[in-house]
């Protein structure tokens, strides 16, 4: 009896040690242990949900991003009431000069900000991944040519190019008839961000691919006569995903901030649409009279970027604990 019990105990102890955890599970455990990361994740989900559900939320609150409200501005077109006209009807106050609801403007604005950030991030990563694997795996002439081109882009003053060329490019896009007005501006902005954005990721993937292709399991696959396609898809890609996920989570806040910066500078969408950058650049003109109008979008933008950054850090720590900060 005792013997059997002991054996069972031993067994269970043994089985505990033997339990195989997949890398995903290990990462998830590590992530859960990081309190800051969890809160950042919750905050990120909250912001994303708010943004996606903007039409529903604004309906519940009873505001609208296109309505120009009557009787909310004084004779100098400044919001009536303290803190930029914050009230139960208008939880974040009113836009000076026009009289739209700031809460609704920011909610719908965040949709555009997230849209630009997501498209740019995923496009940049897809391109960087494709070219990175191709050049890293096949090396040779293609690698050196693409490498020089990437160096050229990295050393290029991309910000100036975006500011200088966006207007003529938008006009060209409109003339061709691909898109109009804000759609054209968003398209051009995304193209620029991707064009100058893929190189960093490409370099990372290329160097990882180069080290992976020398590893035994790749050699073994090659020895067994596996095609390059199979090696890339089955042997290399699964090992590159963690890098990609980390890069995505760290790129997203960067692109959100970039979108805000460019629309602040007048590149990107224009009124009557709104994004964080547009609201902020507008608010700068009113900071003496209506500081709330400047502070509120600032705080929200900081919160979003901070949450995404902390989440990104936590994801990196979880997936790749050896990587130094």
């Amino acid at each position: 009896m005792a013997d059997a019990a002991l054996k069972e105990e031993l067994n269970s102890e043994e089985s505990q040690e033997i339990v195989q955890r997949t890398p995903k599970q290990i990462a998830w455990t590590r992530f859960k242990r990081n309190k800051v990361g969890v809160y950042a994740g919750i905050a990120t989900i909250f912001f994303l949900a708010c943004s996606i559900l903007a039409p529903v939320i604004t309906r519940i609150v009873g505001v609208d991003n296109t309505t120009i409200y009557d009787g909310v501005l004084n004779e100098f077109a400044m919001p009536i009431g303290s803190w930029g006209g914050i009230s139960w009807q208008h939880p974040l106050g009113l836009e000076p000069g026009v009289g739209r609801d700031v809460f609704a403007l920011l909610l719908y604005g965040s949709q555009l900000s997230f849209l630009v950030a997501f498209i740019s991030t995923f496009a940049a990563i897809a391109i960087g991944m494709l070219i990175g694997i191709a050049t890293g795996y096949f090396k040779g002439k293609v690698d050196s040519t693409v490498g020089r081109f990437a160096d050229f882009l990295l050393s290029f003053p991309g910000t100036f190019m975006i500011i200088a060329l966006s207007l003529p490019l938008v006009q060209r896009v409109e003339a061709i008839g691909i898109a109009h007005d804000n759609a054209a501006r968003i398209l051009v902005l995304v193209i620029f961000l991707v064009f100058f954005g893929w190189t960093g990721f490409y370099r990372l993937i290329r160097s990882q691919t180069m080290s992976l292709r020398e590893r035994d399991f790749v050699m073994a696959a090659q020895a067994m006569g596996a095609s390059s396609w199979r090696i890339i898809m089955k042997e290399l890609l699964p090992n590159l995903w963690p890098t990609a996920i980390v890069f995505i989570s760290l790129s997203l806040p960067g692109y959100i901030a970039a979108e805000a910066t460019f629309s602040f500078l007048g590149v990107g969408v224009q009124a009557p649409a709104s994004t964080f950058g547009l609201v902020l650049s507008d608010a700068v003109g009113y900071w003496r009279d209506d500081p709330a109008y400047l502070l509120i979008p600032c705080i929200i933008l900081i919160a979003i970027v901070l949450a995404l950054n902390l989440l990104g850090d936590a994801v990196r720590d979880a997936l790749d604990p050896k990587a130094g900060r």
Binding site: T66, I68, L73, N74, E75, F76, A77, M78, G97, V98, G99, R100, D181, G266, Q270, A271, P272, S281, D282, G285, Y286, R288, D289
Partner: protein
Amino acid sequence: MKFHFWFTTRELEPLLQGGHMSGLKTSRRILASTAAIALAVGVTVASGTSANAAEKPVTGGTLYFVTNAEQFDHIDPARVYTGRDIAFLNSYLYRNLVSYKPVAGSAGSSLVADLATNTGVPSNAAKTWKFTLRAGITWEDGSPITCADVKYGVSRPFASDVITDGPQYLVQALDIPTDKDGASVYKGPYKKTGQAAFDKAVSCSGNTITFNLNRSFADFNYALTYPAGAPVKASKDTGDKYDLRPFASGPYKITSYKIGDQLELERNTAWKKSSDTVRTPYPDNIVVRFGLAEDVRDQILLEDQIPNTVSLDSLQPANTRAFFADPTKKSQRFNVYDPYVRYAAMNVKKGHMDCLDVRKAVFFAINTQALIDLSGGREFYGDPGDNPVKPVLGLDYKKTTGNIHDANWKITGNPTYAASLLEKAKTSCPDAYSRATAADKGIVWDIANTATNQKAAVLIGDATKAAGINMKFNFIPSGQYYSTVQNRDKQNDISSAGWGADWANASTVIPELFTKEGGFNLSQNWDDAAYAAFKKKSDATKVETNRTKQAKGWQELSQYVMDQYWIIRPVFSKTQDVWGSQVGGVYYWEPQGTFGFGQLYVKN
């Protein structure tokens, strides 16, 4: 007169170059496209004369001026065109044949003799003008100002390769033949091509100078209030460099002028009070400090840090409000109607706003109240107007009928009535109707790309949408705005604009804005069925020498313009100026739209 000082050199240059190349008249008092931001926000004010006008002026001291600008656009008399700069330089540095009377109110728009003994003697149906120079007038080196100096000064604007940006009245009005491109055959005193033709048009006999003009020009002497008609001593003319150090004939001369830093003036000892009935130079020194950051400039005035300072600029909107809200600064500010009318020009060319009902629909739909509030409210931005001519022009302004006096007009917009006008357009002009309402077409409004205009676009778009009009906006960078919309092919359906009379006669407004030859026609109205009759009357009124009859003509033409809705929603705009607590003798010099500089003094 002049561009307003909001106009930066950068904005001005493309315009004037365009004018020279095409041989067209160059436009003058176009309102800077970004001006709306400069004006804004505040509380009530006294206007006109300073409250302390009764005080006795004090001689001596240093008077400071501060500005955000890096320099005066020009100080060469033939090139200066900004009302504020003309007033400043004419008061201190140089003298003209005639001058505006240096007093407050509408009396300031009358002329007084300056270098001349009277305000000019017209003859030959005002095609010939004679001026006789008074005795005892001198340059800063003590040499007398002669008729030849005046003649030389008048010849300089003809050298359009060197003397740029100045007013073109003399070039256009003097009876000198033109070549096939419309340019004068006289090429100025440097090249001397066509000198004989100029000598015929402007001649000296003793102390009397005679101008022969190519048309009846009843108010030619007003054109001579521009320093482009001021004397220049030929031996002191340095061509392009004269813009840095003009030779003084007024009560002050230049000690130093550093662009981006400061301009210093000291007394011109050769100037004699007995020879000048216009100027009263009180301060010993005058210093203009350039390139101050806007916040710094505003702080100096708000906290009275340098009490003997006058701001050459309007303060920033929020600071203007703060300044005007302070009861202790009551005698350090004025809030007055500036010389400008801001309006939206309808491009009535076929395929654009060629339908009267659609033009009216746009006008009645717009929420005027919201647009005025946006730019600073009625107190600080201006009032809804009913005329291309501003009431400050006196004689030539008469309240029109229709437009804002129409029973259907509401200051907050009347979308219902606008929709009914649009419904009428469906049958009266189906093409224009479909352009205005179709989702893929719409009306395109040209507007300068500024923060305020971005918001105005939202307000206009919202109001016109309620009436069923699809309004789109073409935002043009501020510096390129007027050069873009003045290009007849690039101008869209509606264009925002602003214009001020060059002197108190609507001959500098109506023909400029609404005839094909005008320097600032944004209506492109010469194919309009209503144009022929208008043009005939305008031409007749322009050469009318009976001022009362002429005024009646302009009044009727203004009514005509408003009835055709060639422009909509004119705004009679305002401007605000402030100064320090130790500056005395301040008043608003109406014809120049700025301070009467000559009477300023520093209190003890």
